[in-house]
């Protein structure tokens, strides 16, 4: 999705806000973070879908509102789309209908910490499918554009880079966000020279590395 979240290389955002050296500065931010984490266990949506919902926040709100408020807007969107809450409930905080509690069990206090410590399986170490690209090979990033969730930053689209490493076979975020399952494929670290990306604006002979799934790449 070519939305406001795709910020790499965009200009006009000014100085780094070094003074914003906090994780939470208001209790509602803590609660927002915790809600998003806890809801993940009782709802049918996943992290990639939550990211996509954040990307669908209007650009004006995305920039104006706090990071965690955008997270909450995304959760509201996903809960509404899943039919688990309605707009009136979100506005008032008052329940209007019940959901099937057998299908949607809340995660417990101990369980959430254990699950957080354990993490999720995102890689498929036993998947032996051959890799299409080899380390050192030049590749071009696809120019394909999509209104769906994707993890190709706009600033490398159509650009030529070099395969630095094959990270292994991973679930594919685009497919996961679209509800199509893991669709495992190789994911590579691809390095681009600053000159390739920024031309005359490049500061030096520096290098930008981006992790890209195989579907995004074409041989040169």
């Amino acid at each position: 999705m070519d939305a406001i979240h795709d910020m790499g290389g965009k200009q006009g955002f000014g100085k780094i806000p070094l003074e914003d050296d906090y994780i939470f500065r208001a209790d509602w931010q803590r609660r927002a973070f915790a809600l998003v984490e806890a809801l993940a266990w009782a709802t049918p949506y996943n992290t990639d879908q939550h990211r996509h919902a954040v990307e669908r926040v209007t650009p004006e709100e995305y920039l104006r509102l706090d990071y965690f408020e955008n997270w909450i807007i995304a959760s509201e969107t996903l809960l509404k789309e899943a039919g688990l809450v309605d707009r009136s409930e979100l506005e008032t905080g008052l329940k209007r209908f019940d959901i099937d509690r057998k299908k949607h069990k809340p995660v417990g206090s101990k369980e959430i910490v254990e699950a957080t410590r354990a993490g999720a399986a995102l890689r498929f170490p036993d998947d032996t499918r051959p890799a299409r690209f080899a380390v050192g090979q030049s590749v071009r990033v696809s120019k394909a554009q999509t209104a769906q969730h994707t993890r190709v930053p706009g600033y490398v689209r159509g650009k030529v880079g070099e395969i630095v490493s094959d990270e292994g076979v991973f679930q594919f975020a685009d497919a996961v966000a679209a509800g199509k399952g893991p669709a495992p494929q190789h994911c590579y670290n691809v390095a681009f020279s600053a000159k390739t990306l920024w031309g005359e604006d490049a500061e030096a002979e520096d290098r930008i590395s981006v992790d890209l799934w195989e579907s995004y790449l074409e041989p040169v």
């Binding site: 910020m7 780094i16 500065r25 208001a26 915790a34 809600l35 688990l84 008052l94 957080t116």
Partner: protein, 210 residues
């Protein structure tokens, strides 16, 4: 119905200036409404909210990463393991989990300085660094560090000599990055515990030297 967590400030901003911010009040109300409705529906256990915040505020954080770095500095075998299979080496120290299922450790050298970003959202290696500071998630950092890393690092007070290459790592997929800073000179006799005290969060993001 809204339960307080540690450091509660009743939903108001507690920035340096303690100003009244209607935007933040709106956000606090919005979050409170969502919490009330999802608790009422049985989607969320309020105790789980407290425990997950507690976990990230008390248990994980940059001290984890610092222990990993200090060990790498003092244990060459561990360092090799860390650079070759970050996930396994870090997990062996008890650090693992969400947003850090796959961690790659990258070493700063005399030739190369590394710095980490997530231009698309805010990916960050939670098990070793905890949750990301606000500036890491800011449009300014996300937009600029891939385009003008040297100018950005200078704002952090870090001037990279022209003989040193800068490498920026944009966390666009499932791998998260941990920078292994250069070990400061004159620390040869320090223990791993002492060294860990010297390792800063920004050093492990790549926005500071030690």
């Amino acid at each position: 119905m809204l339960k307080k967590t540690s450091g509660s400030d009743d939903g108001h901003a507690q920035g340096h200036d303690h100003t009244h911010d209607p935007l933040e009040e709106g956000a606090a109300l919005r979050v409170r409404a969502l919490e009330e409705i999802v608790v009422a529906k049985g989607l969320v256990d309020p105790d789980a909210l407290d425990s997950i915040v507690e976990y990230y505020e008390r248990v994980t954080g940059p001290r984890n990463g610092a222990a990993v770095i200090a060990r790498a500095w003092t244990d060459p075998e561990f360092k090799d393991w860390l650079l070759n299979d970050g996930t396994a080496a870090i997990s062996s120290m008890g650090f693992s989990g969400v947003q850090g299922e796959h961690i790659r450790a990258i070493e700063n050298t005399d030739e190369v300085h590394n710095v980490v970003v997530c231009t698309l959202c805010s990916c960050y290696p939670w098990p070793v660094l905890g949750l990301a500071p606000a500036w890491y998630k800011s449009p300014a950092y996300r937009s600029r560090v891939v385009r003008e890393p040297r100018a950005v690092l200078k704002e952090f007070g870090l001037e990279i000599p022209s003989a040193v290459q800068v490498r920026v790592w944009d966390s666009t997929a499932e791998v998260r990055y941990l920078i292994v800073p250069k070990r400061p000179a004159g620390t040869e006799k320090m223990s791993a515990e002492e060294l860990a005290q010297m390792v800063t969060r920004d050093g492990m993001i790549g926005t500071a030297a030690l």
